[in-house]
Symmetry: C2
Amino acid sequence: MNASQKSDAATIEALRIKGYKATPQRIAICRIALHSREHPSALSIYDEVKKVHPTVSLATVYKTLQVLRDLDLVQELNFPIGQARFDSYMKPHINLICIQCGNITDLDDLTTREIANRVAAATKFKPNGQRIDVYGICQKCSTTQLEPPNALHRAKKTLRMQEMSKI
Amino acid sequence: MNASQKSDAATIEALRIKGYKATPQRIAICRIALHSREHPSALSIYDEVKKVHPTVSLATVYKTLQVLRDLDLVQELNFPIGQARFDSYMKPHINLICIQCGNITDLDDLTTREIANRVAAATKFKPNGQRIDVYGICQKCSTTQLEPPNALHRAKKTLRMQEMSKI
DNA sequence: GTGTTTGCAAAGCATTTGCACAAGT
DNA sequence: ACTTGTGCAAATGCTTTGCAAACAC
Protein backbone atom coordinates (compact mmCIF):
# COMPACT_ATOMS: atom_id res chain seq x y z
CA MET A 1 0.00 0.00 0.00
CA ASN A 2 1.55 3.30 -1.02
CA ALA A 3 1.25 6.62 0.78
CA SER A 4 -1.58 7.86 -1.37
CA GLN A 5 -3.60 4.71 -0.89
CA LYS A 6 -2.94 4.90 2.82
CA SER A 7 -4.27 8.42 3.19
CA ASP A 8 -7.21 7.50 0.99
CA ALA A 9 -7.98 4.74 3.46
CA ALA A 10 -7.90 7.24 6.31
CA THR A 11 -10.19 9.56 4.38
CA ILE A 12 -12.63 6.77 3.66
CA GLU A 13 -12.74 5.78 7.27
CA ALA A 14 -13.20 9.35 8.46
CA LEU A 15 -16.12 9.74 6.07
CA ARG A 16 -17.79 6.50 7.00
CA ILE A 17 -17.52 7.04 10.72
CA LYS A 18 -19.90 9.95 10.40
CA GLY A 19 -22.13 8.20 7.90
CA TYR A 20 -20.84 9.83 4.73
CA LYS A 21 -20.34 7.73 1.66
CA ALA A 22 -16.89 7.41 0.18
CA THR A 23 -17.46 8.29 -3.43
CA PRO A 24 -14.65 8.59 -5.96
CA GLN A 25 -15.33 12.31 -6.28
CA ARG A 26 -15.05 12.85 -2.55
CA ILE A 27 -11.86 10.86 -2.32
CA ALA A 28 -10.33 12.88 -5.13
CA ILE A 29 -11.41 16.15 -3.56
CA CYS A 30 -10.03 15.07 -0.19
CA ARG A 31 -6.70 14.18 -1.75
CA ILE A 32 -6.30 17.77 -2.81
CA ALA A 33 -7.99 19.53 0.05
CA LEU A 34 -6.29 17.55 2.79
CA HIS A 35 -2.84 17.03 1.37
CA SER A 36 -2.10 20.29 -0.34
CA ARG A 37 -0.04 22.96 1.37
CA GLU A 38 -1.38 25.66 -0.90
CA HIS A 39 -4.56 26.54 0.98
CA PRO A 40 -6.59 25.94 -2.14
CA SER A 41 -9.88 27.57 -2.96
CA ALA A 42 -12.96 25.60 -3.98
CA LEU A 43 -12.34 26.62 -7.58
CA SER A 44 -8.72 25.55 -7.63
CA ILE A 45 -9.69 22.22 -6.10
CA TYR A 46 -12.33 21.91 -8.79
CA ASP A 47 -9.76 22.56 -11.51
CA GLU A 48 -7.49 19.88 -10.08
CA VAL A 49 -10.22 17.31 -9.61
CA LYS A 50 -11.46 17.82 -13.15
CA LYS A 51 -8.20 16.38 -14.41
CA VAL A 52 -9.22 13.04 -12.91
CA HIS A 53 -13.00 13.34 -12.94
CA PRO A 54 -13.80 15.57 -15.90
CA THR A 55 -17.50 15.59 -15.15
CA VAL A 56 -17.27 16.62 -11.52
CA SER A 57 -19.22 19.72 -10.64
CA LEU A 58 -18.22 22.72 -8.60
CA ALA A 59 -21.27 22.10 -6.44
CA THR A 60 -19.87 18.74 -5.46
CA VAL A 61 -16.62 20.37 -4.46
CA TYR A 62 -18.45 22.87 -2.28
CA LYS A 63 -20.56 20.14 -0.73
CA THR A 64 -17.52 18.02 0.00
CA LEU A 65 -15.78 20.96 1.61
CA GLN A 66 -18.77 21.32 3.90
CA VAL A 67 -18.41 17.67 4.80
CA LEU A 68 -14.74 18.20 5.57
CA ARG A 69 -15.60 21.08 7.82
CA ASP A 70 -18.14 18.91 9.56
CA LEU A 71 -15.41 16.32 10.10
CA ASP A 72 -13.10 19.03 11.47
CA LEU A 73 -10.59 18.25 8.77
CA VAL A 74 -10.42 21.69 7.23
CA GLN A 75 -10.78 25.27 8.30
CA GLU A 76 -12.33 27.81 5.95
CA LEU A 77 -10.55 31.16 5.71
CA ASN A 78 -12.58 34.05 4.35
CA PHE A 79 -11.22 37.35 3.12
CA PRO A 80 -12.66 40.67 1.97
CA ILE A 81 -12.34 39.63 -1.65
CA GLY A 82 -11.95 36.49 -3.64
CA GLN A 83 -12.74 32.95 -2.81
CA ALA A 84 -12.46 31.29 0.56
CA ARG A 85 -9.29 29.30 1.11
CA PHE A 86 -9.16 26.00 2.91
CA ASP A 87 -6.56 25.02 5.45
CA SER A 88 -6.15 21.41 6.51
CA TYR A 89 -3.58 22.12 9.20
CA MET A 90 -5.82 22.02 12.21
CA LYS A 91 -3.38 22.67 15.02
CA PRO A 92 -3.04 26.24 16.31
CA HIS A 93 -0.65 28.09 14.04
CA ILE A 94 -0.11 31.34 12.20
CA ASN A 95 -1.31 31.89 8.64
CA LEU A 96 1.20 34.04 6.81
CA ILE A 97 -0.84 35.72 4.13
CA CYS A 98 0.86 37.63 1.34
CA ILE A 99 -1.20 40.63 0.35
CA GLN A 100 0.73 40.84 -2.90
CA CYS A 101 0.40 37.37 -4.39
CA GLY A 102 -2.21 35.76 -2.14
CA ASN A 103 -0.03 32.89 -1.03
CA ILE A 104 -0.77 31.49 2.40
CA THR A 105 1.83 29.66 4.47
CA ASP A 106 1.34 27.94 7.79
CA LEU A 107 3.83 28.85 10.48
CA ASP A 108 4.09 26.85 13.66
CA ASP A 109 4.46 29.06 16.67
CA LEU A 110 4.10 27.44 20.03
CA THR A 111 2.93 30.63 21.72
CA THR A 112 -0.23 30.47 19.66
CA ARG A 113 -1.20 27.34 21.53
CA GLU A 114 -1.42 29.38 24.71
CA ILE A 115 -3.85 31.95 23.41
CA ALA A 116 -6.99 30.04 24.30
CA ASN A 117 -5.66 29.45 27.80
CA ARG A 118 -4.94 33.12 28.20
CA VAL A 119 -8.46 33.97 27.10
CA ALA A 120 -9.95 31.44 29.49
CA ALA A 121 -7.84 32.80 32.33
CA ALA A 122 -8.74 36.43 31.63
CA THR A 123 -12.45 36.14 30.79
CA LYS A 124 -15.57 34.02 31.12
CA PHE A 125 -15.40 33.20 27.41
CA LYS A 126 -15.12 29.46 26.63
CA PRO A 127 -12.78 29.06 23.65
CA ASN A 128 -13.03 26.17 21.25
CA GLY A 129 -11.22 27.31 18.16
CA GLN A 130 -8.99 30.00 16.77
CA ARG A 131 -7.58 31.70 13.72
CA ILE A 132 -4.40 33.72 13.57
CA ASP A 133 -3.52 35.61 10.42
CA VAL A 134 -0.47 37.75 9.82
CA TYR A 135 -0.69 39.84 6.66
CA GLY A 136 2.29 41.16 4.82
CA ILE A 137 4.69 40.54 1.98
CA CYS A 138 6.20 37.14 1.41
CA GLN A 139 9.87 36.67 0.67
CA LYS A 140 9.27 35.95 -2.98
CA CYS A 141 7.30 39.13 -3.51
CA SER A 142 9.75 41.30 -1.63
CA THR A 143 12.64 40.09 -3.77
CA THR A 144 10.76 40.27 -7.05
CA GLN A 145 10.28 43.48 -9.01
CA LEU A 146 6.55 43.48 -9.52
CA GLU A 147 4.05 40.80 -8.82
CA PRO A 148 0.53 40.60 -10.16
CA PRO A 149 -1.91 42.85 -8.34
CA ASN A 150 -2.78 41.63 -4.95
CA ALA A 151 -5.59 39.37 -4.12
CA LEU A 152 -6.53 40.25 -0.58
CA HIS A 153 -6.77 44.02 -0.49
CA ARG A 154 -9.12 46.32 -2.22
CA ALA A 155 -7.40 49.21 -3.86
CA LYS A 156 -8.61 52.70 -3.09
CA LYS A 157 -10.21 53.33 -6.44
CA THR A 158 -11.72 49.97 -7.08
CA LEU A 159 -9.02 47.86 -8.53
CA ARG A 160 -10.63 44.81 -9.99
CA MET A 161 -9.43 41.63 -8.48
CA GLN A 162 -7.68 39.15 -10.66
CA GLU A 163 -7.84 35.51 -9.97
CA MET A 164 -5.99 34.38 -6.94
CA SER A 165 -3.01 32.18 -7.29
CA LYS A 166 -3.99 28.64 -8.09
CA ILE A 167 -2.83 25.71 -6.11
CA MET B 1 -17.35 71.43 21.89
CA ASN B 2 -18.74 68.12 23.10
CA ALA B 3 -17.22 64.69 22.65
CA SER B 4 -19.30 63.85 19.60
CA GLN B 5 -18.38 67.07 17.84
CA LYS B 6 -14.77 66.49 18.72
CA SER B 7 -14.60 63.04 17.17
CA ASP B 8 -16.53 64.35 14.17
CA ALA B 9 -13.78 66.90 13.75
CA ALA B 10 -11.17 64.15 13.83
CA THR B 11 -13.13 62.17 11.26
CA ILE B 12 -13.44 65.19 8.99
CA GLU B 13 -9.75 65.85 9.18
CA ALA B 14 -8.85 62.21 8.53
CA LEU B 15 -11.06 62.24 5.45
CA ARG B 16 -9.73 65.52 4.09
CA ILE B 17 -6.09 64.60 4.54
CA LYS B 18 -6.52 61.92 1.93
CA GLY B 19 -8.70 64.07 -0.30
CA TYR B 20 -12.07 62.66 0.64
CA LYS B 21 -14.97 65.01 1.13
CA ALA B 22 -16.66 65.17 4.49
CA THR B 23 -20.29 64.67 3.63
CA PRO B 24 -23.01 64.42 6.26
CA GLN B 25 -23.63 60.80 5.30
CA ARG B 26 -19.98 59.90 5.74
CA ILE B 27 -19.79 61.63 9.08
CA ALA B 28 -22.86 59.79 10.30
CA ILE B 29 -21.53 56.46 9.07
CA CYS B 30 -18.18 57.12 10.73
CA ARG B 31 -19.87 57.94 14.02
CA ILE B 32 -21.27 54.45 14.09
CA ALA B 33 -18.47 52.54 12.44
CA LEU B 34 -15.69 54.14 14.46
CA HIS B 35 -17.29 54.58 17.85
CA SER B 36 -19.33 51.42 18.23
CA ARG B 37 -18.04 48.46 20.18
CA GLU B 38 -20.45 46.09 18.48
CA HIS B 39 -18.41 45.24 15.41
CA PRO B 40 -21.30 46.26 13.22
CA SER B 41 -22.04 44.92 9.78
CA ALA B 42 -22.69 47.18 6.81
CA LEU B 43 -26.38 46.46 7.15
CA SER B 44 -26.56 47.30 10.84
CA ILE B 45 -24.68 50.54 10.20
CA TYR B 46 -27.16 51.28 7.43
CA ASP B 47 -30.08 50.72 9.79
CA GLU B 48 -28.58 53.09 12.32
CA VAL B 49 -27.71 55.78 9.83
CA LYS B 50 -31.19 55.69 8.36
CA LYS B 51 -32.52 57.02 11.65
CA VAL B 52 -30.68 60.26 10.96
CA HIS B 53 -30.49 60.22 7.15
CA PRO B 54 -33.58 58.35 6.06
CA THR B 55 -32.63 58.49 2.39
CA VAL B 56 -29.12 57.13 2.75
CA SER B 57 -28.40 54.09 0.64
CA LEU B 58 -26.69 50.85 1.52
CA ALA B 59 -24.29 51.49 -1.35
CA THR B 60 -23.11 54.65 0.37
CA VAL B 61 -22.46 52.70 3.55
CA TYR B 62 -20.40 50.16 1.65
CA LYS B 63 -18.49 52.89 -0.17
CA THR B 64 -17.75 54.71 3.07
CA LEU B 65 -16.52 51.51 4.67
CA GLN B 66 -14.10 51.15 1.79
CA VAL B 67 -12.88 54.66 2.50
CA LEU B 68 -12.41 53.81 6.17
CA ARG B 69 -10.36 50.79 5.21
CA ASP B 70 -8.27 52.95 2.95
CA LEU B 71 -7.68 55.27 5.91
CA ASP B 72 -6.76 52.29 8.08
CA LEU B 73 -9.52 53.17 10.47
CA VAL B 74 -11.36 49.87 10.30
CA GLN B 75 -10.59 46.24 9.67
CA GLU B 76 -13.07 44.04 7.84
CA LEU B 77 -13.68 40.62 9.36
CA ASN B 78 -15.14 38.00 7.06
CA PHE B 79 -16.72 34.72 8.07
CA PRO B 80 -17.99 31.63 6.28
CA ILE B 81 -21.53 32.94 6.49
CA GLY B 82 -23.30 36.19 7.02
CA GLN B 83 -22.17 39.72 6.54
CA ALA B 84 -18.72 41.09 7.14
CA ARG B 85 -18.19 42.79 10.47
CA PHE B 86 -16.13 45.91 10.96
CA ASP B 87 -13.68 46.48 13.78
CA SER B 88 -12.36 49.95 14.52
CA TYR B 89 -9.95 48.84 17.20
CA MET B 90 -6.78 48.82 15.17
CA LYS B 91 -4.23 47.79 17.76
CA PRO B 92 -3.25 44.13 17.95
CA HIS B 93 -5.85 42.33 20.04
CA ILE B 94 -7.97 39.21 20.20
CA ASN B 95 -11.47 39.04 18.75
CA LEU B 96 -13.61 36.88 21.00
CA ILE B 97 -16.28 35.57 18.69
CA CYS B 98 -19.31 33.81 20.11
CA ILE B 99 -20.41 31.03 17.80
CA GLN B 100 -23.79 30.99 19.53
CA CYS B 101 -24.95 34.59 19.35
CA GLY B 102 -22.42 36.15 17.00
CA ASN B 103 -21.21 38.79 19.42
CA ILE B 104 -17.65 39.93 18.95
CA THR B 105 -15.63 41.41 21.80
CA ASP B 106 -12.16 42.86 21.64
CA LEU B 107 -9.73 41.57 24.22
CA ASP B 108 -6.43 43.28 24.81
CA ASP B 109 -3.63 40.80 25.19
CA LEU B 110 -0.14 42.15 25.17
CA THR B 111 1.36 38.93 23.84
CA THR B 112 -0.50 39.50 20.59
CA ARG B 113 1.65 42.56 19.98
CA GLU B 114 4.66 40.31 19.74
CA ILE B 115 3.33 38.04 17.05
CA ALA B 116 4.50 40.12 14.11
CA ASN B 117 7.96 40.37 15.68
CA ARG B 118 8.07 36.62 16.14
CA VAL B 119 7.15 36.11 12.51
CA ALA B 120 9.77 38.57 11.36
CA ALA B 121 12.38 36.85 13.50
CA ALA B 122 11.50 33.37 12.29
CA THR B 123 10.92 33.99 8.57
CA LYS B 124 11.59 36.33 5.68
CA PHE B 125 7.95 37.40 5.69
CA LYS B 126 7.38 41.15 6.23
CA PRO B 127 4.28 41.57 8.42
CA ASN B 128 2.08 44.61 8.22
CA GLY B 129 -1.19 43.56 9.75
CA GLN B 130 -2.83 40.83 11.71
CA ARG B 131 -6.06 39.26 12.82
CA ILE B 132 -6.53 37.03 15.83
CA ASP B 133 -9.87 35.35 16.39
CA VAL B 134 -10.80 33.06 19.24
CA TYR B 135 -14.10 31.25 18.70
CA GLY B 136 -16.21 29.87 21.49
CA ILE B 137 -19.14 30.60 23.75
CA CYS B 138 -19.52 33.93 25.47
CA GLN B 139 -20.45 34.20 29.10
CA LYS B 140 -23.98 35.29 28.34
CA CYS B 141 -24.64 32.30 26.12
CA SER B 142 -23.10 29.82 28.50
CA THR B 143 -25.33 31.01 31.36
CA THR B 144 -28.48 31.28 29.28
CA GLN B 145 -30.63 28.34 28.30
CA LEU B 146 -30.93 28.83 24.59
CA GLU B 147 -30.17 31.83 22.50
CA PRO B 148 -31.75 32.52 19.14
CA PRO B 149 -29.74 31.03 16.30
CA ASN B 150 -27.03 33.37 15.29
CA ALA B 151 -25.55 34.94 12.27
CA LEU B 152 -22.33 32.97 12.33
CA HIS B 153 -23.85 29.53 12.20
CA ARG B 154 -25.02 27.50 9.30
CA ALA B 155 -28.41 26.12 10.16
CA LYS B 156 -27.60 22.71 8.77
CA LYS B 157 -25.81 19.62 9.79
CA THR B 158 -22.79 21.66 10.68
CA LEU B 159 -23.71 23.64 13.72
CA ARG B 160 -20.27 24.74 14.55
CA MET B 161 -18.53 27.69 13.08
CA GLN B 162 -15.72 26.12 11.19
CA GLU B 163 -13.47 29.02 10.61
CA MET B 164 -11.16 27.86 13.32
CA SER B 165 -8.68 25.24 14.19
CA LYS B 166 -9.14 22.97 17.14
CA ILE B 167 -7.40 23.74 20.35
C1' DG C 1 -16.88 75.87 -11.28
C1' DT C 2 -14.94 71.38 -10.93
C1' DG C 3 -14.38 67.02 -9.35
C1' DT C 4 -16.51 64.00 -5.96
C1' DT C 5 -20.36 61.73 -3.81
C1' DT C 6 -24.98 60.22 -3.56
C1' DG C 7 -28.85 57.05 -4.31
C1' DC C 8 -30.92 54.07 -7.25
C1' DA C 9 -31.14 50.03 -9.88
C1' DA C 10 -28.69 46.67 -12.08
C1' DA C 11 -24.80 43.72 -12.19
C1' DG C 12 -21.29 40.68 -10.16
C1' DC C 13 -19.46 36.87 -7.77
C1' DA C 14 -18.95 33.17 -4.56
C1' DT C 15 -21.63 29.87 -2.71
C1' DT C 16 -25.89 27.18 -1.96
C1' DT C 17 -29.98 24.69 -3.24
C1' DG C 18 -33.68 21.84 -5.66
C1' DC C 19 -34.25 18.13 -8.29
C1' DA C 20 -33.94 13.92 -11.28
C1' DC C 21 -30.80 10.45 -12.00
C1' DA C 22 -26.79 7.64 -10.46
C1' DA C 23 -24.24 5.26 -7.13
C1' DG C 24 -22.59 3.49 -2.48
C1' DT C 25 -23.50 0.43 1.31
C1' DA D 1 -33.55 -1.82 -1.39
C1' DC D 2 -32.66 2.28 0.75
C1' DT D 3 -30.37 6.27 1.34
C1' DT D 4 -27.12 9.40 0.08
C1' DG D 5 -24.48 11.78 -3.52
C1' DT D 6 -23.93 13.83 -8.10
C1' DG D 7 -24.35 17.25 -11.69
C1' DC D 8 -26.90 20.64 -13.66
C1' DA D 9 -29.18 24.97 -13.58
C1' DA D 10 -31.39 28.23 -11.03
C1' DA D 11 -31.44 30.78 -6.84
C1' DT D 12 -29.45 33.26 -3.01
C1' DG D 13 -27.09 36.81 -0.43
C1' DC D 14 -23.66 40.07 0.15
C1' DT D 15 -21.24 43.51 -2.13
C1' DT D 16 -19.96 46.43 -6.04
C1' DT D 17 -20.80 49.31 -10.01
C1' DG D 18 -22.69 52.63 -13.65
C1' DC D 19 -24.85 56.65 -14.04
C1' DA D 20 -27.42 61.21 -13.62
C1' DA D 21 -28.39 64.48 -10.30
C1' DA D 22 -26.73 66.78 -6.00
C1' DC D 23 -23.09 68.38 -3.27
C1' DA D 24 -18.49 69.82 -1.10
C1' DC D 25 -14.78 72.63 -1.54
